[in-house]
């Protein structure tokens, strides 16, 4: 028998069990929920979390690769690398950045502006990413940093490698390197995975053209780090790969020599091998100091470059545009001969000026040259003769010849700063100026004025292609063993002087592209250029070389900045007495030696007055230097030829 109290107990017990059942059901639901969560995290999303875990675990530090060097033709490094001492800082390793900077300032003399900039960079990047406090400090500063290193938590003294240019004579053609800018990162695709703090990239010239290959492959160090950013162990290291090195066709000695010659002038010089197009020298003056750009430019120095009216940053040889002036007369004459407009013996009378529809066209010789034929026209650079020739020839035919010889288009490839210039014709004027062509403009074009615009490099190429007998060559700055067959042709020609080669044979046997219809015309021009330099009355007669070894044949030119007024003409105002900015640009093109042409040269001196007076003497000295070094160059060429 159960007592009432035990009945009570049983009812209670049943109640408890019932409620427990409910609770158990609830527990089961929660359990299932937890298992579901585990399934979702550990099975469904495991790859996502694995990635996140690895992201936590590993940190990579990129290593800047060593930039490849650039050598001259004789394997001398003209853009090399040097060891530099740097101070890096890893912000997260420092307990008190502010204090650290104060301490660093006493050791390194960092300007406040730079400190401000550094702090801003630190606030933007991840705390473990190193920042470069100073990228080029002296040895004594470096040793002081090392001495006080125990109190400079987070600071890392680093011995690194940076670009170094042994000389600034080739600053323009080599270009310079500088820190990567935000714009670079946006515009240059190859930098996408390459960005390492402190890395420099090519901004102009060859450095820029070759940037993608010369930078090299980036390296990295992968560390396992703990939650506090402390490196636990190195997992992987990849040293990266130094950039490719390049050999150029430049002659460093001639570069330096030329730079000295052009000192204090705003000028440009280009020297080219007339057979293979190798650019032996390409100098623009005044030059600048490319080493200044490597470690962050000094504001003052930058301002001085920008404000200098002689534009030291412009490579005048490839991006300076100048009317070719009288140097174009070679092509005007050639074009007229080729088109059968004139014969070499045709003469015009020069009385100092001609009149066309009431407009006066003056010759530079006020009193005139008398009766002038082609040879004399080029020798004396008679303007009236070329007015007449141009008038007969017409600008469109002239423009075809000029373009064939390399004017009006970019000569090199991959130089962002190179400019194409202008070879005007009637269509061009209609298109770009929107007006019809006037006959008077043809006359101006005939003496290389008016719309004509060319670079010294283009004029050098033009001269080289005349000098080599009228064959197309491709100028090159990077050394390349592949030569054209021009020399084989010359050899053949010398052995069989009386065997005229038809043009199609030239093409098939020697793979040469002739720029002429009749090679005799080219020879006429070459001869006239000889007389201009070496016969009395020639415009550069004064600056000839008697020595057959150095004898050159050239053509002077002056490109007008401002037309003379009639009064100035009457008063026979001399160029030297004009304000600097108003003086003509002096031009001179030549090839040498005359007997056995090897090189072509173009010289430009901004506001130098007349080509004969200013540009020719410079060319004369360079020609001697280049020819003196010719044998050396030949030897290297042969050596390399045998190696291949």
């Amino acid at each position: 028998m159960l007592s009432p109290s035990s009945g009570n107990t049983i009812i209670k017990s049943k109640l408890i069990s019932r409620r427990m059942f409910l609770l158990t059901a609830a527990k089961a639901v929660v359990m299932v929920g937890i298992i579901g969560r585990l399934v979702s995290l550990q099975i469904n999303e495991r790859s996502k979390y694995k990635t996140l875990s690895d992201k936590n675990r590993f940190r990579e530090w990129k290593l800047a690769p060593e930039r490849g060097v650039i050598k001259d033709f004789f394997d001398k490094e003209i853009a090399s690398n040097e060891q530099v001492y740097q101070v890096h800082l890893i912000p997260e390793n420092s307990k008190d950045i502010e204090k650290l900077f104060v301490r660093l300032k006493t050791i390194l003399n960092i300007p406040d502006k730079k400190l401000f900039f550094l702090k801003r960079v630190i606030s933007k990047q991840k705390p473990w990413e190193p920042i470069i406090v100073s990228d080029n400090i002296t040895w004594s500063e470096f040793s002081r940093i090392n001495l006080f290193l125990h109190e400079l938590e987070g600071v890392k003294p680093v011995v690194s490698i940076a670009r170094m240019y042994p000389d600034n004579s080739s600053a323009h053609i080599l270009g310079y390197v500088s820190q990567v800018s935000t714009k670079d990162l946006q515009t240059k695709k190859y930098l996408k995975d390459l960005h390492v703090p402190g890395m420099t990239i090519g901004k102009t010239g060859l450095e820029r053209k070759l940037d993608e290959e010369i930078i090299g492959k980036i390296g990295f160090q992968r560390y396992e780090v703990n939650a506090f950013g402390k490196r636990i162990k190195q997992i992987q290291i990849n040293e990266g790969q130094a950039g490719k090195s390049f050999k150029t066709t430049l002659d460093f000695e001639i570069q330096k020599f030329t730079k000295e010659l052009l000192k204090d002038k705003a000028a440009a010089v280009c020297v080219m091998d007339i057979y293979n197009g190798d650019i032996v020298s390409l100098v623009s003056s005044p030059t600048f100091e490319p080493n200044e750009f490597v470690h962050g430019l000094d504001r003052k120095y930058w301002d001085s470059l920008i404000k200098n009216e002689r534009r030291p940053l412009t490579n005048k040889a490839i991006s300076g545009l100048y009317p070719p002036g009288s140097t174009i007369k070679t092509l005007v004459a050639l074009s007229a001969l080729e088109n059968g407009i004139i014969k070499p013996q045709d003469t015009f009378k020069c009385s100092g000026k001609i009149e066309l529809f009431g407009e006066k066209f003056h010759c530079w010789e006020k009193d005139g040259h008398g009766f002038v034929n082609l040879r004399k026209g080029i020798q004396r650079s008679c303007d009236v003769y070329f007015y007449e020739v141009a008038r007969k020839l017409g600008v469109d035919r002239l423009s075809i010849t000029a373009k064939k010889f390399g004017l009006g288009k970019k000569v090199l490839s991959g130089f962002v700063e190179e400019r194409a210039g202008v070879v005007p014709d009637t269509k061009w004027k209609k298109k770009f100026i929107g007006q019809n062509w006037y006959l008077g403009e043809t006359l101006h074009s005939g003496i290389g004025q008016g719309y004509f615009q060319s670079t010294p490099l283009q004029l050098c190429l033009m001269t080289a292609q005349i000098a080599n007998g009228g064959f197309e060559i491709k100028p090159r700055i990077l050394f390349n063993q592949k030569n054209n067959k021009l020399k084989d042709y010359i050899k053949y020609k010398n052995e069989n002087p009386n065997d005229p080669l038809p043009i199609d044979l030239l093409l098939s046997n020697f793979d040469l592209k002739p720029l002429f219809k009749n090679q005799e015309h080219i020879n006429l021009i070459k001869d006239a250029m000889y007389s201009s330099s070496n016969e009395p009355g020639g415009t550069s007669y004064k600056h000839r070389w008697e020595n057959k070894k150095f004898t050159f044949a050239g053509k002077t030119g002056s490109s007008q900045i401002k037309r003379f007024t009639e009064d100035q003409r009457e008063a026979e105002v001399k160029q030297e007495s004009l304000p600097y900015k108003d003086r003509d640009h002096a031009l001179f093109v030549a090839y040498a030696p005359y007997n056995d042409p090897k090189y072509a040269i173009s010289v430009l001196v901004e506001h130098g007055g007349s080509g004969g007076k200013t540009a020719a003497p410079i060319a004369k000295k360079i020609i001697k230097k280049v020819l003196e070094r010719h044998e050396l160059r030949q030897r290297v060429n042969k050596l390399l030829g045998e190696e291949v």
Binding site: I16, M20, I34, I35, E45, R46, K50, S53
Partner: protein, 374 residues
């Protein structure tokens, strides 16, 4: 009455030993070994401070558990109010003599160990209420005047613990107490009313919360809002568990934990560490062990004859379950980080002591299952 007493006294030592629930003992022991493994891993694969003291504690308290199993159920019943009062005095002692660490006062310095009375109170409250509801008759359960005492004994320690401040433990103590009341048959109505009252008082309660407690709740709602701040723990814990995958990264290979991305890896996040190293199957193994333990305690509740025993076992099983799931849901990002250890697995002497005490009483219910308590 006499008869049953004679049954009781007839139990020989052999009978007692035979009647122990060996499945439960074995599960607890295995879990203990697993916890030692996990602790060894948190020490980076060496026997260092945490591992050594965890091993020591586990074996001491495991022994205590076995010893307590043989103490008469009648003793637990008769002394339960006293035990509660003792624990309550200890809690008061914390308030006045407690040790402060990282902003909260939770521990009493007993020279040989730092005792956290709030952990003991988890068991003390269940014991108290089990006796209380065992004693009052079924008609009185839902009488308001009989609800007065339970509310007082429930709320008083909770306030003490919550103001330490230790919100997590306070809530877990409450969970145990409420489950007794629920099992005893208190009407759903009362739970509903107090539930509403709680929600109504919530804004006031929130105003008493410390800023870090507020931020934890906000962070729980959107952990990614502050990945390096308060959300850090949840995110890192999820990364650790998720990256464990099916089979885990391997013993001692949990990169999240040994590279210190995992916070509180000895205590609250021990499951995360285990889960990272042993993966989904490892986690499942732990879950199964806990399920077995809870199931065995419930089973003891089923076979024990006294309502005190039933109430105690069911409530303790429920509380134990809540401790486990709250901790797991917390590290899995399903609940805010409130700071609650995982029973047996987590490092911490008081927690281990309280759990072993609770288990010992439950086992006593098994050994003396046919003994009436009054």
């Amino acid at each position: 009455m006499y008869r049953s007493r004679s049954i009781q006294s007839a139990l020989s030592l052999k009978d007692k030993i035979v009647s122990i629930d060996y499945v439960l003992v074995l599960s607890i022991f295995i879990l203990g070994l697993v916890s030692i493994l996990a602790m060894y891993s948190t020490d980076g694969g060496e026997f260092k401070y945490h591992t050594n003291s965890h091993i020591l504690r586990f074996f001491i308290f495991f022994g205590m558990f076995l010893f307590l199993s043989f103490i008469q159920i009648r003793f637990w019943h008769s002394q339960s109010y006293l035990i509660y009062i003792l624990f309550f005095i200890l809690l008061l002692g914390v308030k006045y003599f407690g040790l402060t660490s990282s902003g909260s006062k939770r521990w009493l310095d007993l020279y040989f160990m730092n005792l956290q009375p709030s952990e003991l109170m988890k068991v003390g409250l269940i014991l108290f209420l089990a006796k209380y509801y065992h004693r009052i008759s079924i008609e009185n359960i839902n009488q308001l005047r009989f609800l007065f005492l339970p509310i007082v004994v429930l709320v008083a320690p909770i306030i003490l613990v919550a103001t330490q401040p230790d919100l997590g433990t306070a809530l877990l103590i409450a969970a145990g107490g409420i489950s007794v009341a629920w099992l005893a048959g208190v009407r759903i109505k009362f739970f509903a009313i107090s539930g509403f009252a709680f929600i109504a008082l919530l804004p006031i309660a929130v105003s008493f919360l410390k800023p870090y407690q507020k931020s934890r709740i906000l962070t729980f709602l959107n952990p990614e809002s502050d990945p390096l701040g308060a959300g850090y723990q949840i995110i890192q814990s999820k990364i650790a568990i998720g990256s464990g995958g099916l089979f885990g990264k391997g013993f001692l290979q949990g990169s999240q934990s040994y590279l210190d991305y995992l916070p509180e890896k000895h205590t609250d996040f021990i499951f995360t560490l285990f889960s990272e190293e042993f993966g989904f199957f490892g986690s499942l193994f732990i879950l199964v062990l806990y399920a077995i333990i809870i199931w065995r305690i419930v089973k003891i509740g089923n076979v024990t004859r006294s309502n005190f025993g039933k109430l105690y076992c069911y409530s303790f099983a429920t509380a134990f379950f809540i401790y486990v799931v709250v901790n797991m849901m917390m590290v899995l990002g399903l609940l805010p980080i409130v700071g609650s250890p995982l029973p047996i697995m987590s490092y911490g002497g008081s927690s281990m002591m309280a759990i072993m005490l609770g288990l010992g009483i439950a086992m006593s219910c098994k050994v003396y299952k046919d003994t009436p308590v009054n």
